[in-house]
């Protein structure tokens, strides 16, 4: 009665809360796996493990997709958070794109098998580390959007910081690649991978900016 559907309303709310938390957990975990994938790839002796990790990322991506669809369905069917529904769905879709970018990177490494000379290994690992930290900061921003809007700004600021760090690292590594004695085709191939990893940070920063706007809209 009264359209409140008390028990199911609070039941759905709890289920959705869990699903959104799980989604953010996946985003964070994919990052951590990605962080180990790059050194594993660079260490040619562990190729079997590398493919295993790529499959793991694929599984997590599918799970995240499923959650996004479920959340979308419930939000619309139960007309929950009508004022912020579209923002939340757009946010989840954009976060899903970040997971997709991680997965895309893994696939490209798996298919194209870029040959990074040893002198670039450390830089590539450091770039990956910054990217994963950036996405970790994004996860915190997302969590604060859902649970404590007043921390959104601080966490979003961290995302911006890591994005800048990533840009610096990317430029230095790209310069190093083009200054090397490799052939131009190889240089461009390696630059493509470095740029693709760095783009994850750009996407994270865009999302963090979005969240800041959503949180202004959500303020009481």
């Amino acid at each position: 009665m009264f359209g409140l559907k008390n028990t199911s309303l609070f039941g759905d709310t709890k289920k959705l809360e869990r699903e959104i938390d799980e989604f953010v957990d996946i985003l964070s975990e994919v990052g951590l796996v990605f962080k180990s994938i790059i050194p594993t790839y660079l260490n040619h002796s562990a190729n079997g493990k590398f493919e295993e990790m790529v499959d793991r990322v694929k599984e997590m991506e599918s799970k995240a997709d499923k959650i996004t669809k479920e959340v979308e369905h419930t939000l619309y069917e139960e007309t929950l958070i009508p004022d912020a529904r579209s923002d939340v769905l757009r946010l989840l879709e954009h976060l899903d794109e970040v997971i997709g970018m991680y997965q895309g990177n893994c696939y490209h490494f798996s298919i194209q098998k870029p040959d990074f000379p040893k002198e670039f290994h450390q830089d590539l690992i450091e770039l990956t580390d910054i990217v994963v930290r950036c996405v970790e900061a994004l996860c915190l921003t997302v969590r604060s959007f859902f649970r404590g809007i007043q921390s959104v700004r601080d966490n979003a600021h961290k995302v911006t910081f890591y994005e800048k760090e990533s840009d610096i690292k990317f430029s230095a590594l790209a310069r190093k690649i083009f200054d090397s004695n490799l052939s131009l085709d190889k240089k461009m191939h390696l630059r493509y991978f470095v740029e693709k990893i760095d783009r994850i940070c750009d996407q994270a920063e865009d999302i963090a900016d979005e969240i800041q706007i959503y949180s202004i809209k959500r303020s009481v």
Binding site: F2, G3, L4, T13, K14, D83, V88, S219, V220
Partner: protein, 350 residues
Amino acid sequence: MDIAIIIFLFGGLFLGWSLGANDAANVFGTAVGTRMIRFKTAAIVCSIFIILGAIISGAGTTETLGKLGSINALPGAFAACVAAGLSVYVMTKFGLPVSTTQAIVGAIVGWNIYTGSPTNMKVLIIILGTWVLCPIIAGLIAMFFYTLTKKFIHSSKLHILRLDAYTRAALVLAGAFGAYSLGANNIANVMGVFVPISPFTDVNIMNIFTFSSKEQLFLLGGIAISVGVFTYSKRVMFTIGNDLLKMSPIAAFIVVVSHSIVLFLFASQGISNFLQSINLPPIPLVPVSSSQAVVGGVIGIGLLKGGKEVRWSIAGKICLGWFTLPVIAAFMSFIILFILQNIFNLTVNI
């Protein structure tokens, strides 16, 4: 019952209908407009609580209107209601947030002038004072609750979804309280002028309780308000929710609570008696404007946010309404009474 009585009562019922059509939106407008609550839910809760408020707590404000001028003939009461209804309609056309309260007071004064009956100036001044106080108090209460709610939300770190669920429940509860207060405070506008000349008689129900003629009138008025809620308030609610007062659901909840407290304060015999018992001045039981209480609440929150969102033009229009509406209603009342007495040969004063 004489057919003429029914026709005359229709004046009040029309006023009740327009009150329901317009003022229910003050209580549930944002909640329905932002789709936090379904219209059907809002209409049912609103109707039930308006009727309860009218029957249980509607006597105090009615008594005050009675002191202002006791209309003693049904055609006179009819004229006052029609004059009030028409003047509200005219002012609403000009986009002014006016109220039936101010219109009916003007119409009663118009009857007093036409019939040569004295107007109780002391009561009139008290009524005028409460009109000014109503949006100010609503604004102050809104500021208080806004600060409190903001602190609570920040410290509780509730998930956005859970906060949404609680907000919905709070909006229904606040709406129920608002509807009760609206019924209690504003029933006097609708049926007050008919009380001294009620065509009903007290009904004793199985020796358990007596359903007085006044309560029967209030029930009828409450039903008229409810009909207004069901038949016409939907579009007003969507206008309030989407265009006029763009607020977050939580801010809407605060505004409704502030509005309801003000309306309840000015209708509650119990609180007034309590204040007197501890040697404090009693609260005058006066019908106040629901729309203006809402605008007061919105301005209060706007001021706390730095004042940029405050639409001072609306505040100016409210002040304009305090003076113009009663004057227009008094003038219309005078004209309608003249027509009823001289063209239809009806007795407007005994």
